[in-house]
Structures are given as structure tokens and as C-alpha cells.
């Protein structure tokens, strides 16, 4: 059974992709994830200048999923470009980038282009860094402008990563109009936790984003609506940890899926999901294309 997937202008050995910000700080850990079966990997989001990120706790595990407020730590594209170069190898490497406006996005994309990433993923969706991410990703006009600017600046595919929104299809259409080759949904959902012993919000940044199993139904709804509205590929992300989760997203219409929080339990999750998808398809005697979007009734 062949799991080869054409998605957003790239050809993948299988449809499992490492999500941005997870084990993506260095080439070595990206390569390690590839060894564990990922069909492609997305780097940590990189910006114009170094950021140390928020004070800790930056990530906590709750009964219902993970809460994080990393605060977009990154060494800047000036330094990350070397890491990206080393990360290139057997599978496509997608550079996740962020900025405060179209010009900054363009600057980072051009800076990283020297390392020839296979595609760019525009982080228009991080919920806990003032002035970045979701601040832009909720505004269809900005989404279109940023997608268009980066698309014109680089000669590789451009994916746009969206926050979970009630009107996600509208923002997705803006990305499509801007020339995006795919949209990725979703980033984490704004959330928080409070320590009852002291009354302190637990995250160093007080508020952050929820990921993991708890957000799967939300992500699935976003993907479902995007797939119904858009002509470009949709990549599903949010709470995927098993082949069943992955199949759900594909049935909703996703072309490929990204996996983040689930590496906590098992870094081999990519291989396990591919294996599970393969067995499912063999039993059903069908293909990925055959089940893609069947839930769009």
C-alpha cells in the first residue's frame, strides 16, 4: 500500500508531518523525528530577531490537554538559516516563519531562502505573542496581504497556518486569494489554568494555548469547513495521536495531517500512524484518495 501524498505543492512519502514548534529548534532533533517516520517536518517558527520566549512554566499538562505559552523563542533567521540548511535531507523541510507585518514575513522568508526550504508555513495563528500570530490571522485582509507578499517573494510553496476561528472559512479564503498553496488548521486555542494553592495563573505568560486530544473536535470542525469552502489543500492539525484521529481528518477532507503534542507520549507516533492508516486502507481495500472528504455529505 502506497501512502505517497501530494500536498500543498510537495510530495510526501506519507501524510504525517511534524507540527511547528515541536522538537523543531535544531536540525538534529528534526532529523530524529524523520527517523521516526515523519513524511515531512515543520521547523520552530522563526522571526527577524532573537527572542528568549516567556518565563516558565511555558508548558503544562492538564487533565484535558497541554497548555503552552512558549512566546516564540527563536534565534532569528540570521542564525537559524544554518540550522535549516543542515536539516535538509530525506523528507521535505518546511520553514515556519512569523512577523509583525507583511514586510517582516518577507524579510524572514528571503533570509531563510538561502537554505532552500521546501516550503514556508506562515504562522498567523500563535495565540500568545502580542502583535504576532493570531493578532494577524483573525483579519482576512492581513492574511491575504501577507500570503501574497511571501508568495511573490519566494519560489517554493507557501502554506498559511490559521487559528481556530468561528469564521475560519472566510480567513481560509483570504489565504487562498493571496496565493497560498495550502492552509494548515489549527494552532492552539487560547486558554489558561490557575493554581488554586496561590491564585497565580500557572503559565508564566498567564494565558497560552491549548493543544492535544482536547482540541481535536474543534480542529476537525475547522478542517471540515475549510475543505468545503476552499480549492487548495487543507492540512489538519490538533489533537492527533492515533491512526483513527488521522483518518477522521482525512475523511473531513484533509490532504495531510500534522502532529505536535502527541510526541510527548511517543516520538514514534509518525510511524505508528502511517502503519495504522495502511492497515485500515488494506482492510477496506481502498486508497487515501478514496476516503478523502467522504464526510463532506
Amino acid at each position: 500500500m502506497d501512502l505517497t501524498t501530494d500536498v500543498g505543492g510537495l510530495k510526501l512519502k506519507n501524510p504525517t508531518i511534524l507540527a511547528a514548534g515541536i522538537l523543531g529548534t535544531g536540525a538534529a532533533s528534526l532529523k530524529r523525528v524523520v527517523q521516526h517516520g515523519a513524511g515531512a517536518v515543520v521547523t520552530k517558527s522563526t522571526g527577524v530577531s532573537p527572542r528568549e520566549g516567556h518565563p516558565g512554566p511555558v508548558l503544562i499538562k492538564t487533565e484535558h490537554g497541554f497548555l503552552n505559552a512558549m512566546g516564540l523563542p527563536n534565534p532569528s533567521y540570521h542564525e537559524f538559516v544554518r540550522e535549516l540548511e543542515m536539516a535538509k535531507g530525506d523528507v521535505p523541510v518546511i520553514a515556519s516563519i512569523f512577523g509583525s507585518d507583511a514586510r517582516e514575513f518577507e524579510e524572514v522568508a528571503l533570509g531563510l531562502s538561502k537554505a532552500s526550504p521546501d516550503a514556508f508555513e506562515l504562522n498567523l495563528s500563535c495565540p500568545h505573542a502580542e502583535g504576532y500570530g493570531a493578532t494577524l490571522g483573525t483579519d482576512p485582509r492581513k492574511v491575504k496581504e501577507i500570503a501574497k507578499t511571501v508568495k511573490n517573494a519566494v519560489d517554493v510553496p507557501v502554506w498559511v497556518k490559521l487559528p481556530p476561528l468561528a469564521n475560519i472559512a472566510e480567513v481560509g479564503l483570504a489565504a487562498q486569494e493571496g496565493g497560498a498553496d495550502a492552509v494548515v488548521a489549527i494552532n492552539t486555542i487560547p486558554a489558561m489554568a490557575i493554581d488554586v494553592e496561590s491564585g497565580y495563573p500557572i503559565l508564566g505568560n498567564k494565558v497560552g494555548g491549548l493543544s492535544g486530544a482536547a482540541i481535536k473536535p474543534v480542529a476537525l470542525r475547522c478542517v471540515y469547513e475549510l475543505c468545503a469552502a476552499l480549492n487548495i489543500d487543507v492540512i489538519g492539525v490538533g489533537g492527533i495521536s492515533s491512526w483513527k484521529d488521522a483518518i477522521e481528518f482525512i475523511m473531513a477532507g484533509a490532504t495531510a495531517i500534522e502532529i505536535g503534542s502527541a510526541v510527548h507520549d511517543d516520538i514514534n507516533v509518525f510511524r505508528n500512524i502511517s502503519k495504522g492508516i495502511m492497515q485500515f486502507l488494506e482492510k477496506r481495500r481502498c486508497t487515501l484518495d478514496g476516503i478523502r472528504g467522504v464526510a463532506q455529505k
Binding site: 523543531g24 538534529a28 516558565g56 512558549m70 494553592e197 503534542s261 516520538i267
Partner: protein, 268 residues
């Protein structure tokens, strides 16, 4: 031991509130904080300590129920201001810890690196394993856990200023030893010190019998964010380590560079 798995899986503990029951001044720069609860940890494992409103930082277990902290910056200074009865939030034990083996072991500790090795020395003594310790610090009064090491076995000390023991780097004491007498060598301390230990061990063909506890910037402490990954293996110090065999560290970033909070490389 499968390096791809989160070692704490299954037994993983949700964070708990720990009330400080006792504070001991160990040296001018270090204090031990007893946490009023016994963590089911082994030597070399660590906990994430949340000093509320400040930061969440990794600290090795220096006893089953305590951490020993050197004051170096914001979070550790805030910790130093806490009093008996104050509380911190603790998550752990995290990481793999040291693997105790053999009949005779050598420990090389420098500075606050003596914290995770002291419980190892005591566990070894309890199992009738012969323990020899080389303990180093800047000055005599900074030598940490001298009594604990002495009562666990044989101790030799070294200080930079010669105020106690040998004058010079603790690793120079290795020159007087025949490493082949030891079944396993454990080290924790400044990385330049540890990389010298590995160099000497390699020279004696004993790299595979060494274990080092690494310090890298740890953010999530759950194996998710990737901040503490080392080159070229990509292993995570927080959950695949913090203890690594010298064999894994040969020809790695160990002893050469580390990454800071933003991910920038910093020469050691």
C-alpha cells in the same frame, strides 16, 4: 531503556505543591531545600520547580526529598528568599537518572554538580559498592557535601585556589588513578570539567563506562519543545537524559557549545 520514550511515562506525576520544611546552608553559594515530600526518584533525576510569579527551573534531587540550589540568577535568587513554610510547585521526578552498576565506582563532581552525585554515592554504599569521589570547587568553603561523600567511601578534594585539597582542576586528580580499577565512572559539574573526564576515559578505552549529567536550557521539561536537544543525536536532555553515556557524547556538541533560551549557540 528506550531513548525514544518519556521515561516518566505511566508513573508521571501531576505537579504538586511542596511546602519547604527545612533550609540548610551548605556553602556560601548553595542551600538545600527540604520539600516535605518524598519523590519516588532515583539519583540523577530532576524536578521542575515553579517559583510562582518568577520561573520554572530544573533542579536535581540531592536527597529523596530535597534539592540543593546554587544562586546564579533571577529564579535561584527568588528561591533563596523563600523561608520555611513557603511553598513551591514541583513536577517530577523527570529524566532517566544514573544507572548504578559494578562493584567499584568513581565519581567526579564539580561545584553544585555534587548535588545529584551525593545520593548516588549513598545508594552505592548501601549496596556495598566501593565509592571513590573526586570533588572540586573554586574554594574550600564551596566544596559541597564533603561529609556525605566521605562517609560513602574514599574522598579526594581539589580547589582552584588551593584553600583545601589539591590546588588545581579536579580532573588533574585523575592522573594519579588507574581508571581500569573502576567499573563505572560518573560525573556532573561544569561542562569543561566533564569533557576532560570523557577525554581521559576515552584514552583509557572506557568511554562506554562513563555517565554524565548534562545541563542544557530546559523549558518544557516534557520532551515537546525541543529547546534542550543536543547535536548531532537530537536527543532531549530533559526526557532522554539528563544522564548520557560517554559513548553517546563522543564527537557531539558536548564540551564545545550549548544553546541559550532563544536557541542561539553559545561556546562553552
Amino acid at each position: 531503556m528506550h531513548p525514544g520514550r518519556y521515561q516518566g511515562r505511566g508513573t508521571e506525576m501531576m505537579p504538586i505543591n511542596a511546602r519547604i520544611t527545612r533550609i540548610v546552608d551548605e556553602t556560601p553559594s548553595t542551600k538545600t531545600f527540604f520539600l516535605g515530600l518524598t519523590l519516588d526518584g532515583k539519583p540523577g533525576q530532576f524536578v521542575m520547580v515553579w517559583i510562582r510569579g518568577v520561573d520554572d527551573i530544573p533542579m536535581s534531587l540531592s536527597y529523596p526529598d530535597a534539592i540543593t540550589v546554587q544562586k546564579v540568577g533571577d529564579a535561584t535568587s527568588a528561591l533563596f528568599k523563600l523561608r520555611k513554610g513557603d511553598s513551591v510547585r514541583i513536577r517530577g521526578p523527570i529524566g532517566n537518572g544514573f544507572t548504578l552498576s559494578g562493584k567499584s565506582i568513581l565519581l567526579i563532581a564539580g561545584g553544585v554538580g555534587a548535588a545529584p552525585l551525593a545520593p548516588l554515592a549513598e545508594e552505592a554504599k548501601g549496596k556495598k559498592i566501593k565509592v571513590k569521589t573526586l570533588l572540586g570547587a573554586k574554594t574550600g568553603d564551596e566544596l559541597l557535601f564533603v561529609k556525605r561523600y566521605r562517609s560513602a567511601g574514599d574522598l579526594q578534594t581539589a580547589t582552584d585556589d588551593g584553600s583545601e585539597g589539591y590546588k588545581g582542576p579536579v580532573t588533574e586528580l585523575l592522573d594519579g588513578l588507574d581508571l581500569r580499577e573502576y567499573d563505572q565512572i560518573y560525573s556532573c559539574g561544569p561542562e569543561k570539567m566533564m569533557s576532560r573526564v570523557l577525554e581521559v576515559a576515552k584514552g583509557a578505552n572506557m568511554a562506554s563506562k562513563t555517565q554524565f549529567s548534562l545541563q542544557r536550557y530546559i523549558k518544557c521539561g516534557m520532551g515537546i519543545c525541543g529547546t534542550c536537544c543536543i547535536d548531532p543525536s537530537g536527543l532531549r536532555v530533559c526526557v532522554d537524559g539528563p544522564v548520557f553515556s560517554g559513548e553517546t557524547l563522543v564527537d557531539s556538541e558536548f564540551g564545545r557549545y550549548a544553546r541559550d533560551a532563544s536557541g542561539r549557540k553559545v561556546r562553552l
